[in-house]
Amino acid sequence: MKKIFVKLIWLLALLISFNTVVSAQDAAPAVIIRGKVTDKKDKSPIVHVSVAETDKDGRIIKGTTTDIDGNFAIKISDPKNKIVFSYIGYKTIEEDIKGRTTINIILEQGSKDIDEVIVVAGKKTDNGNLSVNDKDLTIASSKIAAKDLEEMASASIDQALQGRMAGVDITASSGDPGAGMSIRIRGTSSINAATNPLIVVDGMPYETSIPSDFNFGTADDQGYAQLLNIAPSDIKEIVVLKDAAATAMWGSRAANGVLLITTKRGIVGKPVLTYTFQGILQKQPSSIPLLNGNQYSNLIPEEYMNATGTPLNTLNVKEFAYDPSDPYNYYNYSQNTDWLGAITQLGFAQNHNVSLTGGGQKARYFSSLGYYTNSGTTIGTSLMRVNARINLDYIVSERIRFATDIAYTFSDNPKSYYPGSAAQEIRNVALNKMPNMSIYEYNEQGIMTPNYFSPAANIQGQYPATYNPVAMANTAKNRVISNRVTPHFNLQYEIIPHILTARTDIQFDINSTKSNSFLPQIATGRPVTETSVNRAYNGDVDAFNVVTKTNLIFNPRLPEKHTLTSVLSIQTSDVKTVSNQVLTSNTASSLLQDPTAPSRTQNTDLNVAAGYAQTRSVGALINAQYAYLQRYIINVGLRGDGNSRFGPSTRYGLFPSVSTRWRISDEKFMKDFKFINDLSFRASYGQSGNTPRNDYSFYNNYSNFGWSYQGQAGVYPSSIELSNLRWEVIHGTNLGLNFIAFKNKINIDFNVYRNRTKNLLFYGLQIPTFTGYSSVDMNVGTLDNQGWELNIISTPVKTKNWVVDFNFNIAQNQNIIREISPYYPKQNVTALTANGQYQAFLQINNPFGAIYGYRYKGVYADKNSTIAKDEKGAPIIGPNGQAVYMRFNYPTTNYLFQPGDAMYEDINHDGNIDYKDVVYLGNSNPKFTGGFGPTITFKKNLKISAFFNYRIGSQIINGTKMTTTNMYGFNNQSTAVLRRWRNPGDVTDIPRAMYNTGYNWLGSDRYVEDNSFLRFRTITIRYTFDNKLIKKLKLKSFSTYFTAENLATFTKYTGQDPEVAPRGVTGPFTIVTDVSTTPPVLQFTLGITTSF
């Protein structure tokens, strides 16, 4: 490291000396100019004023500074040039030399430069290629400034954005530190789950996907969150582009919307050091009440007896023997353990961020260093992150400027061990774990030992279905470490000043992620011959991306009343990922936690694998915006894309877009309505193309088997050739209205949209397996994604001391299939014959989300109540006069309902519960979603802001209720089952316990619930200290705030969290199911922001 440094310094020195040599050679006959610089107010000389000779383009030829008396002398090279005097805090003065040799200058105080920068930056919206005034925007977008995000206790910006903008939905995949987020803009335009928007940072696309074949140490890829790790405090603003006309500019990956993030840049002024601090406390709310050990030990033998008719043999099943003469089993299986509580802790996080910004006329800088650490609410989970950023601007002349941005992020994210499926995750296992079992093992004498009690198997099963969660949390390891460097270089050259500008960007992105996990024997208790014992994993995925963008911006000077801005852009991207992973097992000891230790590799469970994938794309774009009188505005664009994921015949696509704005408020007939500041209509149409998710899918690829046959290697066709795959094209139309009135006190933005996706890409479409494959990716049809959204920003009160702002947003979104391939199934299941299933149908031209199932009528109290009844309620009599009892699915299943079984409504009164009794139960498509909140400011010092979000009119399946009351296995159940049917005559709403048999939890309205809710999402109280006090402390600013999140939820829903998958319905058969076992984490934040 040191060596590199030394080398760099030598290189730098060489360059500098070389430069001076060159300039010395260039030196023309010298003219020396002398003078003195004084302050306008007190006439005192100013020291260190920079004095520079500049040419007509503003390029600095030579420079010096004034001495202690304010005097300077400068040798100039060309008397036609100018001399520029600048000093921080003073207005800059430019003087033509005009042959003078003495120039005395008086400088005036004022920091106008700084103001100008801020004003311009705030008013414009940049679509990434063109910068357009907000009021001239022809597209649908929403913007959020960093100020609004500051109070959020978020580790990443996606968390902070949650619920803030109409039509933008963000959900966390879990509450653990470093958990991934899914972002949806205006619902989803595809019927596949994973369709995150394109993220553009400082004008360059930012890669957020990982190779699909890499499994992160058997963790799910959703949990991979090292993707969007830009410190929230580095962000100046975020713009979301929503309509297709706007996203068309970004090409293929922008089909799901674009999130434009602009980071802060240096501004002219003295160096300002800002420090922000956040301290966060997170508390896992209590889960649903579960049975304790005694209640559980009552339930299970009863459940077994009901199902088999024979008592559970406690001679073999020691778990329920409760035999004090067998102390080992007696003590180990007679506890009342709260497994969830045992792996839960308070979470703490702190976030420190220091930034330094400033600059002079020529060079400006913004640099920041952040440190974030978070211990999660589950034992063993945490996140540590360090990020650094430096944004440098160097203005060579008025025509040439460079920018160099370098960002670096390191994160270390220990997670819970992931055994392979969501049901086997630690919190789920803890919830289901038998509560009569002990955490620590008791020995044969009944004395507690310090060892975890991890039997190889017991009645509940074995790893990975169940295990000792406390042992797992404390001894297993699963760690993801990532390093990411993103250097971004930019050169801007004004070919014709103010008219034609060329701008080239190149960005490298080096992202290295290492994942390391280890599963010690004690966590699972499995015998040492198995491969789950001391299983060590090491995986590494490195992504190398090169993205370039070359823009030619043309703003011709047109006669007054006309304006034109246009851009020609050529973009390329090359994304390469290389991965390798090793999974071995049976290392000699639980202390040898890396596959580098001698361990077993030869088994199909274990693997050594490497992957390589590369994607390239090119895009060319022409876009022009023309305005007449600022009243009639039109924007047209055309984008051509080429992508390596297609075969040669379908590789290229052309996507046009057009958008317009008509400002009615400027028309003459609107002159009388003085209170209207702006009233505009917008209309837009655009196309954008989506590429398939996988590389090389147009090849029929032959791979080797992971094993040989009699020592010979075998080859098989591992993938089907997808020669039919085409661009998925989204045709977006948007109609918008902007209304601003009463001196900007009310600002309404309303949009109606329809995104029609043609050639809808569907991944993993089930095909008949006699083809040899079970699924293919295919363009299957046409999907409409339509809705409207309304955003109101208002300032109802604005007095000297009080300012009250109130924001409100509401949106509705529906997905409708218009056309579909014959391969696409028409329903999700053919009949409802298994427990826990619901039916959904694909109905063309109908929004999806409808739920079908049986109607639950309670529990059969006794034998008599199971007699089938006709329409009039009279018992049905068989041909021989015998009573006919209710049956299930005659003749295929032909189960006779017994007393204590769940009773379903016999809609057609035929004494048989089957597909004819399935009815419509509800719809999981919300009618409205949105958020609102006031912000109250008092005397500019105290600011209170609150935010609520809500959803109205949707039904979901309470999956947690289903699994915690079904009494079907050996999993622990909720306390609701204490009122289960036990004896004939019992009248209750919970059926009898039946181990692995019966039809007590068929998909019925018992689990369908309305999940409308109103959530008090956040409240923040911020206090900004007075200027006087701050000056005394020699600070520039100082404020502190307190935020509470997820304080309360108002809902009729009986489950833990009504806000499940707010993205709603993603496919025609999606039946939104809530499986959360705990409500969202309660979070309190204390923050401090100060600058010097």
Partner: protein, 498 residues
């Protein structure tokens, strides 16, 4: 000047991007070889054929059950010799109790068709190698084609016996342009295709690959004959079946392993013995899935008491006099553990990491008993009995199990033969098909065999409904898995499950 320069730059940039773009966007996968580059040499055919065999051991993607597991489940679960252990799944339980619905995952045929597609791929593309590789002879090519066509026939035979009417796919699926939504083909037509494939294999396949292990691990002329015998019996073509058996018997290359102390070790534990004709070769690289099925404490299946009590019986007067195929052959008598695939040195088990017992497709005893079955139907009872007694004698079958039928008593001979097959091939995935084949003969003349077996197999409240179900011939075949119906509207469900 400046404008001119700009113009030149723009024009040249357009030209360069225009021409080099396509090249830049053409990327090749690095973890495999594309079809366009494959099928160039005879070694590639060889590895593709080996791939077909390798796919018999397990699903390459690891998402489906291994094929032998399906063969076991389809052949054994509905029989009277097996019952659920502690880890039995609902789907398995439903198949055992005749409660199969189209949602039952055991009704998936995907594993079979996957290998059929690999075979079809070889059939479609291997012949083009002749144009590229001069060292490939027509005979050699035909021999490889014979191998994969025999394999395809054998797999279709499984489908016909399990589902009866199935879609007949003989072209490979290589591209999404090849996708089809086929209708079912009747079982009889599929059997004709099977006969055609086997006939082709019969005349083109090799007798030996030069090494004894490969002769047992790959399909040879003798395997094809055994398959033909099996298919002919299913089609009630007894003369042809007997002739096919005779070919194997007269070759003199096979014999029964002597029923002494080393019998289990030679035949099952080590494998590839003189008795074996074709067995799927698991090894340390690719373990079979039987260990978790039979040997862990959450075992999915155990043998019923009926196996020792009735099938093999016990000589209460002399515990040294026992049928070697029972105790220490098929079961561990102390806990009814299914022994054949997980046993080592009775009564101790293999360990899981060496659980690579082979899966038997055909062995010599099968040929003898198939011959006997054909002879019974050809009214040559006494010859048939000779073969049955040959098998019994090797195994030291107990007198209690000798039904002693008269050579003229066709029904008695059939009962005796089926009982002997149950003893000889216990848990080798043949029981249900043996019973079904003999029951369905002459329009279900002997349905009583199947009904009696079901009465023993399904106990408790489901017994009567199971018996009633199996009286409907459609119920003797599995339903089509529901996702197949959803993705192919031309498929029609087996009427029993509609």
């Amino acid at each position: 000047m400046k404008k001119k320069l700009l113009y030149i730059v723009l024009v040249s940039a357009t030209i360069i991007t225009g021409t080099s773009c396509n090249k830049w966007l053409t990327l090749q996968p690095q973890d495999g070889i594309t079809r366009q580059e494959f099928w160039e040499t005879k070694e590639q055919i060889q590895s593709a054929v080996t791939g077909c065999y390798a796919s018999l051991l397990a699903d390459p993607a690891g998402t489906d059950r291994p094929l032998p597991e399906y063969m076991f489940l389809w052949g054994e679960l509905r029989s009277d010799m097996i019952t659920g252990g502690f880890g039995v799944t609902n789907d398995e339980n439903d198949l055992m109790t005749a409660n199969v619905l189209p949602t039952n995952t055991l009704a998936k045929w995907s594993a079979v068709y996957k290998t059929i597609n690999y075979c079809n791929t070889v059939v479609d593309f291997a012949p083009q190698v002749l144009n590229n590789d001069n060292t490939l002879t027509q005979t050699q090519l035909n021999a490889w084609l014979a191998e994969v066509r025999a394999m395809r026939a054998w797999l279709y035979f499984y489908l016909v016996r399990t589902f009866r009417d199935v879609p007949l796919k003989l072209k490979s699926t290589s591209s999404d342009l090849d996708l089809q939504q086929l209708a079912k083909t009747s079982g009889d037509s599929v059997l004709m295709q099977i006969n055609a494939d086997l006939a082709y294999a019969d005349s083109n396949i090799v007798f030996s690959y030069g090494a004894s292990a490969t002769d047992k691990g790959r399909i040879t002329k003798y395997t094809v004959k055994a398959m033909q015998a099996d298919v002919f019996l299913w089609q009630d073509k007894y003369t042809e079946a007997a002739a096919a058996c005779d070919f194997v018997i007269n070759s003199g290359k096979f014999g029964l392993i002597k029923g002494d102390g080393g019998w289990f070790n030679t035949l099952y534990y080590t494998g590839n013995s003189n008795e074996s004709i074709f067995e799927l070769q698991y090894d340390a690289q690719r373990l079979n899935s039987f260990y978790t099925m039979f040997a862990t404490n959450k075992q999915r299946f155990i043998a019923t008491n009926y196996v020792m009590d009735q099938v093999y019986t016990i000589d209460l007067t002399n515990d040294q006099n026992y049928d070697i195929r029972g105790q220490g052959g098929a079961v561990r008598t102390s806990d009814n553990l299914i022994w054949k695939y997980v046993g080592f040195n009775y009564p101790s088990l293999r360990t899981q990491d060496i659980s690579y017992a082979h899966w038997f497709v055909y062995r010599y005893a099968d040929i003898l008993l198939m011959k006997a079955e054909a002879l019974i139907q050809l009214n040559r009872g006494s010859e048939a009995l000779a073969y049955i007694y040959q098998v019994r004698k090797r195994a030291n079958a107990l007198v209690a199990t000798d039904l002693n039928p008269s050579p003229a008593d066709k029904n008695g001979l059939t009962d005796f033969l089926i009982a002997e097959r149950a003893r000889e091939f216990a848990f080798e995935g043949k029981r249900w098909f043996d019973v079904l084949r003999n029951s369905k003969r002459n329009s279900f003349e002997r349905i009583d065999i199947l009904i009696n077996m079901t009465a023993r197999a399904v106990l408790g409240p489901r017994q009567q409904s199971a018996i009633n179900k199996y009286k409907n011939p459609d119920a003797l075949y599995l339903p089509i898995y529901y996702t197949e119906l959803l993705s192919d509207p031309n498929l029609i469900q087996n009427p029993y499950y509609k």
